[in-house]
Amino acid sequence: MNALGWGLLLAALLAGWAVLDGAVQGGVPLVRTVGGRDDARRRTVLATVAPFLLLGEVWLVAAAGVLLAAFGHVEGTLWAAGYPFVVALLVAWVVRDAALWLRSRLPSPRWRRGWDVVGQAASLALPAAFGALAGVAWVRFSVVGSQADAGSGAAQALALGLPVLTAGLAVATARVHGGLVVAARAPEALAHEARRRVRRALVPAAALAGLAALGALAVAALGTASALVAAVLLVAVAGVALAARFDLDRGTPRTGVVRSSGPLLAVAPVVATAAVVGPAVLALAAPAAVLHALTWPVLGAFAAVLAAQAVSWRVLVRPLGPRTAVFL
């Protein structure tokens, strides 16, 4: 497999993480708002996103493994440029996991409500840190970084603004996606409430996607042509978000547009980033001999993982029923 193949694998892993873990990132902040003060209702909301936790976060772990093995120099550059965001990502991730696993282990109401607050904050910080890191990648692996270093005012403004924009976009899209997952799996009383929150989040998500599209246009104008693809994608995603809002307002929440808007929005930050940074990242891939030697073990493992995950999705992702296992 050449550098392009490894790049696509990396993008696929990140997109998988954005969809699966995005359900958790967007669903957990609804635990307190949709669940209300009743602990059983809160746990019901948690139960809708619980299976995505173990199945989802490993996609980012695997992506980090691919980054390390095939794009070591990219990792080095990105970690050096986005050091605080990497640390924030790790802290948010670890704290989110601890909050989810530990909150229901002890019966004390204070213990549980405390962890719910912590989990909510960490679930917002996690996509924000990831989005900011993606924004840093936009800067470092396009012409923006070098021009900002050379003292161009426009490039310096972009270098500051892009991470903020992509962080906001990642948070907003996860919110929509997670809310839709809760709505699809929860009993109607909770689903209705979750859909209300999704409806409110769709316009900000569309606005942020539009702004990010402008940012991508600016990157393209400075000289990285591949950012044009990102701009087009982001405009399309903004359109999907608005169409979903239209359908929710019409009172038809089960249309194809609404259903597909969650995953489409969730992968938008990853796909846009792949479009912007793709050419520069591929140029920094590991030597062909290293990439070649690792191809079959990694592809074989990925096939096995996909099979195991497909079985798990079939078994686990259904509306909550009497046979649903509640643990979180």
């Binding site: 209300g36 003060r37 009743d38 602990d39 059983a40 209702r41 746990r43 019901t44 619980a50 173990l54 490993v58 996609w59 772990v61 695997a62 980090a64 493994g65 691919v66 390390l68 070591g72 120099h73 990792e75 080095g76 970690w79 050096a80 990497v86 640390v87 790790l90 802290v91 991730w93 670890v94 996991d97 601890a98 989810l100 696993w101 229901s104 282990r105 002890l106 004390s108 109401p109 009993p187 009383a189 909770l190 590991a286 030597p287 001999a289 290293v290 030697a293 690792l294 073990p297 990694v298 493992a301 990925f302 096995a304 993982v305 195991a308 029923g321 009497p322 649903t324 296992a325 509640v326």
Partner: protein, 436 residues
């Protein structure tokens, strides 16, 4: 403190924390798998119920431990790129291979199967559910082995050549059969089995020490003999499994510990006094555990161990509980000896640690040290205290594998204000029998 010291200290503290969780994951995993297999195969209803309870109790502890283990592992994975990029620049082509296999093949599958096991509890057929946990155990061990291949390369670099200062694999088989990978991995497996065993024995002994040897009803009726409650049966079984696993583990850990001295004589690396002390402690603990384990195993036939003279028995149970941290501390020493013994090298004879560290400022590294280690250690301590609470609570109110309505209703008593929803709606909600 320089950036190099801060980076090394951060790595050491985070890896040490991660290692403590790994010990339980790998040590308890096979035990839960065996318990569940015997539960799945049990014909007798009473025996099946006991084994189910044991599976769920130890499985729940396994999960609460795993939750932080996975988190600590995630933090570890990014440490190399974050603070030791020189390692990847020089040996990324060699060192990256086992790590990408670890994440893609082992850890990815492990987490997927664990998700299937926990959340597919009531959906999967019993045999498939049992197989899912065996898959978790196998991929967990594969994961540990690939990490040891990477670590073994650092300690005893083989199967590679340096071209323009960059390492390239020339012999992948040599990398995998490296004694620093193979023997050390088996040594670690022994240590993990021992740690899991001390947890099993310690917790079981705590419960057995408190359990009445005769049920109150039997005493009141004036009947002779010791009658066991079902819960006692769980602890006795766990104690037996723990004693076997601990003795085997001590044998394996000690055997492959000594076996490693052969290759260690030929690799560069300092031998500061702390390493010698660590070796002595490990040899002492391993040997003692093996001898005492054999003696206690001899008391198992005919349940002699559980019928010892009462004061002797309570003293023994108490001692076994107090000794619970011993294998964990010993394993930490062993890990420290491994890493300190390699210094000043990051890759023995190839790359010095000081040349592998990133050029991040000391302030940045110290800040991340305080933040990451602070968060990780706090969460670890909270996690251990939750595990201790769950261990003491015993087999009542297990959340793992219970029907959803039981899990949600179970905590009603102390879960705060009464539900705002009406009784009908709430009932519908709790049984998940809502509108669909």
């Amino acid at each position: 403190m320089t950036a190099v010291d801060a980076a090394r200290l951060q790595f050491a503290l985070l890896a040490g924390t991660h290692f403590l969780f790994v010990l339980v994951t790998l040590g308890l995993g096979p035990v839960v798998a065996i318990l569940q297999t015997r539960w799945a195969a049990a014909r007798d209803a009473g025996r099946a119920a006991t084994l189910e309870t044991a599976t769920r109790f130890w499985g729940q502890l396994y999960l609460v431990n795993y939750a932080l283990g996975i988190a600590a592992g995630i933090v570890m994975e990014l440490q190399l790129g974050l603070h030791f990029p020189g390692l990847l620049d020089v040996a990324g082509g060699v060192f990256g291979a086992p790590l990408v296999i670890e994440t893609m093949a082992a850890f990815f599958l492990e987490s997927t199967f664990l998700g299937l096991w926990v959340f597919g509890w009531h959906v999967l057929p019993r045999w498939a559910h049992t197989a899912a946990f065996w898959a978790v155990v196998v991929t967990g061990y594969l994961s540990a082995f690939t990490v040891m291949v990477a670590n073994g390369f650092l300690r005893n670099p083989v199967g590679f050549e340096l071209v323009d200062g960059v390492a390239r694999v020339t012999d992948a088989a040599a990398l995998v059969t490296n004694p620093a990978a193979l023997l050390s991995a088996l040594h670690v497996v022994g240590a993990c089995l021992m740690a899991g065993a001390f947890l099993l024995v310690g917790v079981s002994a705590w419960h057995l020490r408190r359990a009445p040897s005769r049920l109150p009803g039997v005493v009141a009726a004036g009947l002779p003999g010791a009658v066991m409650s079902p819960e006692n049966d769980v602890w006795r079984r766990s104690m037996r499994i723990g004693l076997v696993a601990g003795t085997v583990g001590a044998f394996v850990a000690t055997g492959f510990g000594y076996a490693q001295f052969a290759y260690l004589q030929h690799v560069p690396g300092g031998d500061p006094p702390v390493v010698g002390i660590a070796y002595a402690v490990m040899q002492g603990v391993g040997g003692l555990v093996f001898v005492v384990g054999c003696a206690l195993l001899l008391l198992l036939p005919g349940n002699v161990l559980f019928r010892l003279w009462r004061p002797l028995r309570t003293a023994l149970y108490g001692t076994l509980t107090v000794l619970l941290p011993v294998p964990f501390l010993t394993a930490l020493l062993g890990w420290a000896a491994r890493e300190i013994g390699r210094q000043p090298w990051a890759i023995a004879g190839v790359l010095r640690t000081e040349d592998a560290v990133s050029d991040a400022s000391a302030t940045a590294v110290i800040t991340s040290l305080v933040v990451l280690v602070g968060v990780m250690l706090t969460l670890a301590v909270v996690d251990w205290s939750v595990m201790a609470r769950l261990a003491r609570r015993g087999t009542t109110r297990l959340a793992l594998g219970a029907p959803p309505a039981d899990v949600l209703r179970d905590d009603d008593g102390d879960a705060g204000p009464p539900a705002p929803a009406g009784p009908v709606e709430r009932d519908e909600l709790l049984t998940f029998g809502g509108a669909r």
